[in-house]
Symmetry: C2
Subunit: 333 residues, 2 copies
DNA sequence: GTGAAAGCGCTAACAT
DNA sequence: ATGTTAGCGCTTTCAC
């Protein structure tokens, strides 16, 4: 910047004014400065400016997700990015792999870089460690999963309700032996979906005592194994509710291997790519990751703009998409 | 930091030393400083430090991809992140949507934030605008597509070779009426894949003059329409090579709508999620986005560590995965 | 309309 | 083993 000022024959403050579009600079001076900046390939240093700037904003956001290599996270990420773009805000993303230690490290790495706000899919038991940062005024919005040990904004799917919808869909078609295959109970959304499943069966008057409920599945392989075991029993379920997209895919593989994909109903929570092109199509309760990301970013920016309303939970509705697998009738009535 | 120093009863430099793990501090002092930092919830400001630090590194990387909401980009992103994690480097990601203006804006936004290196899937005609930055010593590695108007490291799939492999696979099964459905020719990889397709047919002695070659497809919808049109002709192709995953999916939809998915062969470039679960499975020439991301990150870090060898192009091999759709025989010989 | 001086939070270079 | 001073590139404050 000194160089630019020297070349343009003005003071550094004038260069600063031109770059930031501040008033009170003559058109001729602006032109001179612009020219000098171009010939020197000058790029202003945002961080240096932020050090002194009144609002102290870095125009940077931190996004923490399960893995950036995951369709749900990708859609959330994209929506956040789109919302940030218009405000000149850049987005840091980090994958957590359901590892609480990584969550804390990633948060700390972002905080050291002075992100203006944090959007996170939390994986640790408690987010109490974020309390000081929250007090300091950094907006923190939780997506997909709600925080524990701390009160802050959250944007989530209606997990229990969505699971109940999926379950009702199966019960209405006459299924009574419905199995639940879900993620680890440490994950809040898994608990919610499990609850929605069981409560809906209760409402429908189906005894849940002897129904197969398998937890702790978090990848295709474990889901496939669990489904193979379940389907090989003499009292195999006539319908399966899978609480997560990787589990859905694992179950699908098991069904295909056993040639049971046309006689066992399946409804998955969260959409799966190409779900409409397999045979039968996979019926799912779809989440809206795009909306979740957009709303989360909006909350962060609203907070940054001074919104100090009480922390709120925004619920994004799910949507049942019938594609065939969920409409298969029970084998015997 | 001043506050921490005051509370611990030491000078700021000592606090700095403790935080950066520099030697020559007594264990007792370290403990005092740590304690003070914890009670004050002190987070060091990385940017402030970088302003003065000798190497001027921000421990930040910029990644530019087509869209973070895309399996290929997601895998690259994840691999880059994994490579960066061990070095304490955070990753900025930005989506370009094949928009050259966005590319320049995103690059500029990252440069203003003083990223240590740039990894990008370029979309603009020429990257000559990056020359000053390159001279300044910022490592820039191109992934997926090679740069134009500038010489720098690149990590790419063997596009022409992969396309030739796919084409050979079809020709060897007796196909002569093979169609090419590809992306816009402005995209370098599309041109390469098209070239590989045509050259392989030439080698096999198949006249390419009358074969359907459709360019300019870049989403499912346009690919589906093009395929529908092609398949409705009296001289419909017996096999299709699609040069990109979204195109592959669009073609697949068209084949299904016409009930032709069992009598028209299809080989796609780039893998598609769940490709093995549709019927028939989709034969593809798979890229290795994970390896591309990893190698690109390694190049950036090697440059940062002082490697000043001539810019190199790293070619990541593709792999033919037979799943059924590519092994369909021609309808009549 | 413009510039000089001070200082943001930190680290480098040199004390001690 | 620890502290002091200067200064990174910018913006603020205030004077001109």
């Amino acid at each position: 910047m000194r160089h630019v000022a020297a070349l343009a024959g003005v003071g550094v403050k004038t260069v600063s004014r031109v770059i930031n579009g501040e008033p009170n600079v003559s058109a001729a001076t602006i032109a001179k400065v612009r020219e000098a900046a171009r010939t020197l390939d000058y790029q202003p240093d945002l961080h240096a400016g932020n050090l002194r700037r009144a609002d102290g904003r870095t125009r940077t956001l931190g996004l923490l997700v399960g893995s950036v290599d995951n369709p749900f996270a990708g859609a959330v990420h994209r929506a956040v990015e789109d919302a940030a773009l218009g405000r000149g805000v850049a987005v840091f993303a980090s994958s957590l792999d359901d590892d609480p230690d990584r969550e804390q490290e990633a948060v700390s790495a972002f905080l050291r870089r002075r992100v203006d706000g944090l959007i996170l899919t939390t994986v640790s038991e408690s987010q109490a460690y974020l309390a000081p940062e929250l007090r300091r005024g950094t907006p923190i919005v939780f997506v997909d999963r709600e925080p524990a040990g701390i009160v802050s904004d959250a944007v989530v799917s209606d997990n229990a309700e969505g699971a109940a919808t999926a379950t009702r869909h199966l019960v209405e078609r006459g299924h009574r032996r419905v199995a639940y295959l879900g993620d680890r109970l440490a994950i809040q959304t898994a608990r919610e979906r499990r609850r929605g499943f069981l409560e809906e069966l209760g409402r429908a008057g189906v005894a849940t005592r002897d129904l197969p409920v398998v937890d702790g599945l978090h990848d295709e392989a474990s889901a496939r194994r669990a489904a193979l075991e379940l389907l090989s029993r003499p009292d195999a379920p006539t319908a399966i509710f899978s609480s997560q997209n990787l589990v859905t895919i694992g179950v699908l593989r098991a069904l295909r291997e056993l040639g049971r994909h046309h006689d066992t109903a399946l409804v998955g929570f969260d959409d799966v790519p190409l779900a409409d092109l397999v045979e039968p199509g996979i019926t799912v309760v779809a989440q809206d990751p795009q909306a979740i990301g957009r709303l989360a970013a909006q909350r962060v920016f609203a907070r940054l703009d001074g919104d100090d309303a009480a922390p709120a939970r925004t619920i994004v509705p799910t949507r049942l998409i019938e594609r065939g697998s969920g409409e298969i009738a029970p084998r015997e009535v």
